[in-house]
Amino acid sequence: MAKMRYIQAINQVFLDEMERDKNIMLFGEDVELAIFGDTREVYKTFGPERVYNTPICENSLTGMAVGAAAAGRRVILHLMFGNFVYTGMDAIAHQMAKLRMMTGGQMDLPITVIAGYGGGRSLAGQHSDTPFPVLMNIGGVNVVTPATPADAKGLLTTAIRGNNPTFFLEASGRGGDSGEVPDGEYLVPFGKATVHKEGSDVTICAIGTMVRPALRAAKTLEAEGISAEVVDPRTLVPLDEDGIAASVSKTGRLVLVDECKDRCSAASHIAAVMADKCFGDLKAPIKRVTVPNVSMPYAGVAEMAIFPTPEKIVAAVKSVTGELAGASA
């Protein structure tokens, strides 16, 4: 175990995996000087034969990832901001997500696309999106949202070694968070949720960037006598429905926390699944703490007004555990 920043954990995986497997290539805009820090030294170490610092043209880059994979390479594409998923959407939705199926399973597409997502830093509408829903809905691509440096390492390694297209969405604003990261080879399997904190009164299911405020909220609630379990799906595709359901069935209450815009969010989808699978165990309405259906404003006060915060999570929990809070008060 070593204490490491989130972004360092990612950077280290790139260096380790590209060293281990000479068939891995990496490309993207400005990856040479590593604007996000996560590709630092990658170009110096492996480029220019295996690393391409590209022009600005996301539409082609996503399609090229498919072509390079079809030609036998193991591919890492850095898309920089999650918003650029929309810019490169055509080949993501039409080729990357569908080609295996459309060719009757003829080709593996070992592609890892990495991009930073999320708001909270006054980058305004075009640099603050959380594009999970579109990636989840198109089918055919995995979606991974590590919340901690350790999960970043473990999930990225699994993504790179896997044979399916995977979107590894890093929390842009959380690059500096640090945490313990296992030494040496470390893989976290896809489709296994993790419980960051156990509890018995309510399940708070928090995704990616939202794990931290969820844990804060859980602490506040604990002090008020409400025992919250904080569950993190870690991967949205595949989704650990059973793992989340187990927690919901135990606590009987569910609050989802997701930085997506609300409509058709990951939160909505998990809520829908639980309203089907866990209906008999539910004691209260399922609540969602998400971003309203507007684009992220610039001004800090405006941004914070619509952003999920520990306070909003606490309020949502209390709206379904009213009597418990009363009991312990």
Partner: protein, 336 residues
């Protein structure tokens, strides 16, 4: 017309093979068209009739290890690159013996083992894939080339400029083959296109030529030069093949047009004449300069017809696609 040296026996055999490949495409497409018109074939069907020389000429200089990307009009490319006609027909009829197990259909025929990365229903969809394959080849230090076959309509998609640029910057072994049939669906491409499309390649410094796309030998020669350059690490080339689509945009065109039209019957007929039709033309040339006899051509006609009918029988006799498969093949080793 290209100058031909004395035709030796090897050359004769090669030419007959080109002819046979073009004829296989023609007869296959005619048969598919018949099925589509009769309502036997599901989905949208876009035929390659009239354009055989460009696909066959282009693929004639490629190996199985070379890649092609294709278009919605991809049957001809599939067969030109060595795809199996039975497996293609079974695919078009939605059978589990199809090359894509019935999951892809007309717009997605692919045979990765032969380097055919697939027909593609997205206009321009093959452009970035071909460029990426070129990148992948270069990273893998392989000798292969990647050939992008695309239409004049697709040439207005911006990914073309993006990929022409990148292929040039990094000298990817990519050959850009524009099949300019003058039409994009029901639109005359010239009406929505400014300048010559070859100039878009020249703008990034890429060698670009325009050839008679209905002359299989002219296409082949331009391709040879381009492939040699690519294999030598000298980068990409652009070849425009001028050709014409004789059939409708899709077989159900009349229903879509509802009585309107975008071209005259005379225009179509002019491309079916012995001087224009790529197969009739090449037949005359084979007889005149290629050392072939009418008997050679008749034999090919017979063989091809039989092959096509066998393919139809194979397709019709095959079992329907397996719906369960969907869940196995969406991902490698993972359920969707």
């Amino acid at each position: 017309m290209t100058e031909i040296p004395n035709v030796d026996e090897q050359r004769r055999a090669e030419w007959l093979a080109l002819y046979e490949r073009m004829l296989l495409i023609r007869r296959s497409e005619e048969r598919v068209g018949k099925a589509a018109q009769a309502g036997e074939m599901p989905g949208g069907v876009h035929l390659y009739i009239g354009q055989e020389a460009s696909g066959v000429g282009a693929c004639s200089v490629l190996e199985d290890t070379d890649f092609i990307t294709s278009t919605h009009r991809g049957h001809g490319h599939f067969l030109a690159k060595g795809g199996d006609v039975k497996a293609m027909f079974a695919e078009l009829w939605g059978k589990r013996t199809g090359i894509c197990k019935g999951m892809g259909g007309s717009m997605h025929v692919a045979d990765v083992s032969k380097g055919i990365l697939g027909a593609n229903g997205i206009v321009g969809g093959g452009i970035a894939i071909a460029n990426g394959a070129g990148m992948g080849i270069k990273v893998g230090k392989e000798k292969a080339v990647s050939v992008c076959l695309f239409g004049d309509g697709a040439a207005n998609q911006g990914v073309l400029m993006e990929c022409l640029n990148m292929s040039m910057v990094w000298k990817f072994p990519v050959i850009w083959v524009l099949e300019n049939n003058g039409l994009s669906e029901f639109t005359i491409t010239d009406k929505v296109t400014a300048g010559e499309q070859t100039d878009r390649a020249r703008a990034v410094g890429m060698p670009a030529v325009t050839v008679d796309g209905n002359d299989v030998i002219a296409v082949q020669e331009a391709m040879k030069e381009a492939v040699d350059r690519a294999r030598a690490g000298e980068g990409p080339s652009f070849i425009e093949c001028k050709t014409y689509r004789i059939r409708g945009h899709l077989e159900a065109e009349d229903a879509f047009l509802g009585g309107y039209s975008y071209r005259t019957q005379e225009e179509i007929d002019a491309w079916k004449t012995p001087d224009k039709d790529p197969i009739l033309r090449f037949a005359s040339r084979l007889l005149a300069e290629g050392g072939a006899s009418q008997a050679d051509l008749d034999e090919i006609e017979d063989r091809v017809s039989k092959q096509v009918e066998e393919a139809v029988e194979f397709a019709l006799a095959s079992e329907d696609a397996d719906p369960e498969l969907i869940f196995d093949i969406t991902f490698a080793d993972q359920r969707p």
